[in-house]
């Protein structure tokens, strides 16, 4: 043993690793250039043999031409309670029908005893198989969601073609099908429009933007309950348009109710997802003889749980950066008092609304969609273990306080009020 050890030592001490490398690299090695003709037959046989082994081992089943399958860009999930059947409607790109290069869509429906059965039954009508990787939105019927959303989430998590960044919505109409088939004009693509609506929710925080990943994360994490944007149809000038508005609230896998636009905004603020939007105060609230609206530039929220005597309280601290967007009459925003007044008004306004909304959710839905439990779990894991089992019950009795710090950071492009001197 010792002898071998010594020898290795000696070898490494005399030869530098770099030298070994350079010796191998920087050497002109001359080989007989006719050697390549010899052994040629042998080499070819070996190469062919290897290829013959590799190909069946790696055979790829997923070969298909792009036009052999329908590209699904949106799907609607319904449940027929009379017949106990799942109904699925998909919006697909109708590539073979488009005479020009403009994309048009059509929809196919299928029904079956299980979700996957329904999906496969779509082929009965469409003829082609469905390709799910480009699906943008999934709309789920509110009655189905009120029963249980589990079958759909289960399928979404299992299906390998689906992407986790597809968006999830809850239909407030009778069926989800009518939303995905709601085309104001021949060429409009409802799924794309809905996707854009949700994408731009940074500017209009009246509904959340929830994708599969976030939904299933909230679904499977204790201390937070999932939410989803709600969608309905409105009629404008005799034409029907899909419209996203409000939030669907879940408790575990069951839909328990909806929040309206303002409540949704508060929900986003508490979840620290508020990045824009408009606040409006009328004359009576501001005490400035003008109503005004403020634009939210940025907002950040911190949840600070505190445990005292086996009782937990959560402090909601909101810091908002606001700017004056429009006023009803002249407003002398150069004066410090006016700015202070606006700050005070907006702070108390936000405080009041947060308190109100959290109370509503606590009392009406008993579902911790704000993620208070998650925060408590992080800060006080041992306390969390005690309350986790019936958290939603504890949540409805949770005490909380709200602290809002609003900052008026901009008055737009003007530095003086618009008026005659």
């Amino acid at each position: 043993m010792e002898l071998y050890g010594d020898q290795t030592q000696a070898y490494w001490s005399t030869t530098n690793a770099k030298e070994v490398y350079s010796e191998k690299q920087d050497k002109i090695v001359l080989i007989n250039f006719k050697e390549c003709f010899q052994n040629m037959k042998q080499k070819i046989i070996i190469a062919l043999f290897l290829i013959m082994i590799i190909i069946p081992l790696l055979s790829n089943r997923s070969y298909s031409e792009v036009e052999d399958r329908y590209l699904v860009i949106g799907a609607a999930f319904d449940f027929d309670f009379d017949k106990n059947l799942y109904n699925i409607t998909v919006e697909v790109i109708a590539s073979e029908d488009s005479s020009s290069d403009k994309a048009i869509t059509k929809s196919f429906s299928g029904s079956g005893v299980s979700l996957f059965d329904a999906i496969r039954n779509v082929i009965k009508i469409s003829g082609k198989r469905l390709f799910w990787s480009h699906m943008k939105v999934a709309i789920i019927n509110k009655d189905l969601a009120a029963q249980s959303i589990y079958p759909i989430m289960g399928w979404i998590n299992r299906e390998h073609e689906l992407r986790n960044d597809a968006l999830i919505l809850i239909s407030r109409e009778k069926t989800a099908k009518e939303i995905i088939e709601c085309k104001p004009s021949e060429t409009s693509i409802p799924s794309n429009v809905i996707e854009k609506m949700l994408e731009n929710n940074k500017s209009i925080p009246k509904y959340p933007n929830i994708d599969f990943w976030e939904f299933s994360h909230d679904f499977s994490t204790s201390g937070i309950e999932p939410i989803a944007p709600a969608i309905q149809i409105i009629e404008v000038n005799g034409k029907r348009y899909p419209q996203v508005t409000g939030t669907a609230v879940f408790s575990r896998d069951v839909l328990v109710g909806f929040l309206d636009d303002t409540e949704s905004m508060v929900l986003l603020a508490v979840r620290n997802k508020l990045r824009g939007g408009v606040l409006y105060f009328d004359k009576d609230i501001t005490n400035l003889n003008t109503g005004l609206s403020l634009e939210i530039f940025d907002s950040s929220t911190k949840l600070k749980p505190r445990v005292e005597d086996d009782k937990v309280t959560v402090e909601i601290i909101v810091k908002s950066k606001l700017g004056i967007a429009d006023t009803e009459t002249t407003l002398n925003f150069q004066s410090k008092d006016v700015i202070e007044q606006i700050k005070k008004t907006s702070s108390s306004y936000i405080e009041k609304h947060i308190a109100k909304t959290v109370k509503i959710v606590q009392e009406k839905y008993k579902s911790d969609i704000f993620g208070f439990g998650k925060k408590i779990n992080i800060s006080f894991p041992s306390y969390w273990k005690e309350v986790a089992s019936d958290w939603n019950e504890n949540f409805s009795n949770l005490e909380f306080s709200v602290k809002v710090d609003a900052e008026i950071s901009s008055t737009g492009l003007v530095s003086k009020p618009l008026k005659k001197e």
């Binding site: 250039f33 790829n60 070969y63 298909s64 031409e65 590539s95 073979e96 488009s98 480009h134």
Partner: protein
């Protein structure tokens, strides 16, 4: 074969010997004459009328002998010596008694003078055939840089190099290759820069050549190359004397072959495909960008159709939705599978390329219009092929032209890539890419690894490979090839090697 007779002392017999050897050759002129002063001293100048300059024969050979007053009948070779010493006005001569040598040099354009009473003949330099003048090389044009290109004549080519490298160490070895063609082949190198091992190897391989004719340098290339069956050439070619001189300065060996303007340079590395002479004459940033474009172009031209095929057939989820939509729309109604579309269009475009490269200008245009308009436009309208395929194939073709020397390799490798991608999707593409990399790394050119410096590890290695560094930074010659004297600088004292 008839046994060569030896020359005798009688001129008529000697003429007969040559006549019987070349009995059917009617271009040979036998001009017999005598001196004006002395009778009975017969001379005969024999030459090939197609290869000699008549001026030289009449003014510099016949006239001086006719008018000379020194001539008299002398013993044996005395007269020959007198002629070349005092009378003939010819630049080069040789006196020989071997009939075969006389005939060989006559057929190469020299004149032969037979003299009365002498068993020897004088071979006189009288070559005068028409040569092509020095023009700009068609395949390696530059905007900035010399416009001279090699010609088919070895002497002209050597002069082009000599003018660039008037140094005592610039050596040229002339030899003849080809049993019948007897082609002049010049082996050039700079002594003190070239690696002796490489030079010996080149010489050894040249000596092993046994072929009847060498009509183009590619004959030599394939006979001495390390991998003659490879799609990738392990011997470089150039038509530009400036580029050949640069290769010599890097310590390479070049071979000039008579009858072709294409000169061979060796050892040849893969990265040299992407080094154009204009890189060195323009601003280094432009040179670098152009070089990177060429490298990217090569990669694209072998892999673009394969990647398109993989995405269309296996990985439709990888592209953005809008692209997937437009792809599926463009594919709808097309009867063939994507791989067949690609192969069909590659075939059609390669056919057009081959047709236009041989046809004269105006006909070529017709082919191009028929190809572009009829086959391109009409095929899309008839839904025979989808528009993206035409875009991909056309772009592939254009990128393929970025490196002309690799064109032949690219055409075949592209199809191999398509084939394996069709079976295995992107995996197939990656496996083929790995296989190609292994193969290229296994190649050697005259003992030097083919991919040397193609994957630079040290900062220094990148200077003339992926980028073209400014000249002030390029202080060393390429590794292994310029090993004998790595430093380019001469005035400053050498640092450690």
């Amino acid at each position: 074969m008839i046994k060569m007779q030896a020359f005798t002392k009688f001129i008529d017999e000697n003429i007969n010997i040559i006549k019987t050897t070349l009995n059917l050759d009617t271009t040979i002129v036998y001009r017999e004459f005598e001196n004006n002063e002395v009778d009975n001293v017969k001379f005969c100048v024999i030459y090939d009328s197609s290869m000699c300059k008549p001026d030289i024969i009449s003014n510099d050979i016949i006239r001086p002998i006719l008018n000379s007053k020194k001539i008299s009948l002398k013993e044996d070779t005395e007269l020959c010596k007198l002629l070349v010493k005092n009378i003939l006005i010819v630049s080069d001569y040789k006196i020989t008694s071997e009939v075969s040598k006389v005939i060989d040099s006559m057929l190469e354009g020299d004149a032969v003078l037979l003299v009365e009473n002498s068993a020897e003949a004088i071979i006189l330099e009288a070559k005068g055939y028409s040569k092509r003048s020095i023009t700009e090389p068609a395949s390696q044009k530059v905007v900035r840089g010399p416009r001279e290109g090699f010609t088919e004549d070895v002497d002209t080519n050597i002069s082009l190099l000599r003018r660039r490298l008037p140094d005592k160490n610039f050596k040229i070895n002339l030899r003849k290759l080809g049993a019948i063609s007897k082609t002049d082949v010049a082996l050039c190198y700079i002594d003190g820069l070239v690696s002796p091992k490489i030079l010996d190897e080149v010489n050894k391989r040249l000596n092993e050549i046994d072929i009847d004719g060498v009509l183009e340098s590619n004959y030599i290339d394939e006979l001495i190359s390390d991998a003659p069956l490879s799609l990738f050439r392990t011997i470089g070619i150039t038509e530009r004397p400036d580029s050949a001189a640069a290769k010599l300065l890097e310590g390479r060996v070049i071979i000039i072959c008579s009858g072709t303007p294409i000169v061979l340079t060796m050892p040849f590395l893969f990265i040299e495909h992407f080094q154009e002479s204009e890189d060195y004459y323009n601003h280094f940033a432009v040179g670098t960008i152009n070089r990177l474009l060429r490298i990217v172009g090569f990669v694209l031209s072998i892999s673009l159709p394969a990647i398109y095929l993989a995405i269309m057939n296996y990985h439709q989820e990888m592209v953005p939705t809008n692209l997937a939509i437009s792809m599926s729309i463009s594919r709808s109604g097309v009867p063939f599978p994507t791989f067949f579309e690609l192969l069909l269009y590659l075939f059609i475009f390669e056919t057009i390329r081959e047709a236009t490269s041989r046809t004269p200008g105006n006909v070529g245009q017709t082919v191009a219009i028929a190809g572009a308009l009829v086959i391109g436009q009409a095929a899309i309208m008839a839904k025979l092929v989808s528009a993206p395929v035409i875009i991909i194939v056309s772009f592939t073709l254009i990128t393929g032209f970025l490196v002309l020397e690799l064109k032949s390799a690219v055409i075949i490798i592209r199809v191999i890539f398509i084939f394996f991608t069709m079976i295995l999707g992107l995996y197939g593409y990656i496996f083929t890419l790995c296989g190609l990399a292994f193969y290229l790394i296994s190649l050697r050119s005259f003992g030097v690894p083919y991919m040397l410096d193609a994957y630079p590890i040290k900062d220094e290695d990148i200077k003339d490979t992926l980028i073209r560094a400014p000249w002030s930074f390029m202080e060393t010659r390429p590794k292994l090839i310029g090993q004998l004297r790595m430093q380019r600088k001469y005035t400053q004292k050498n640092k450690t090697k």
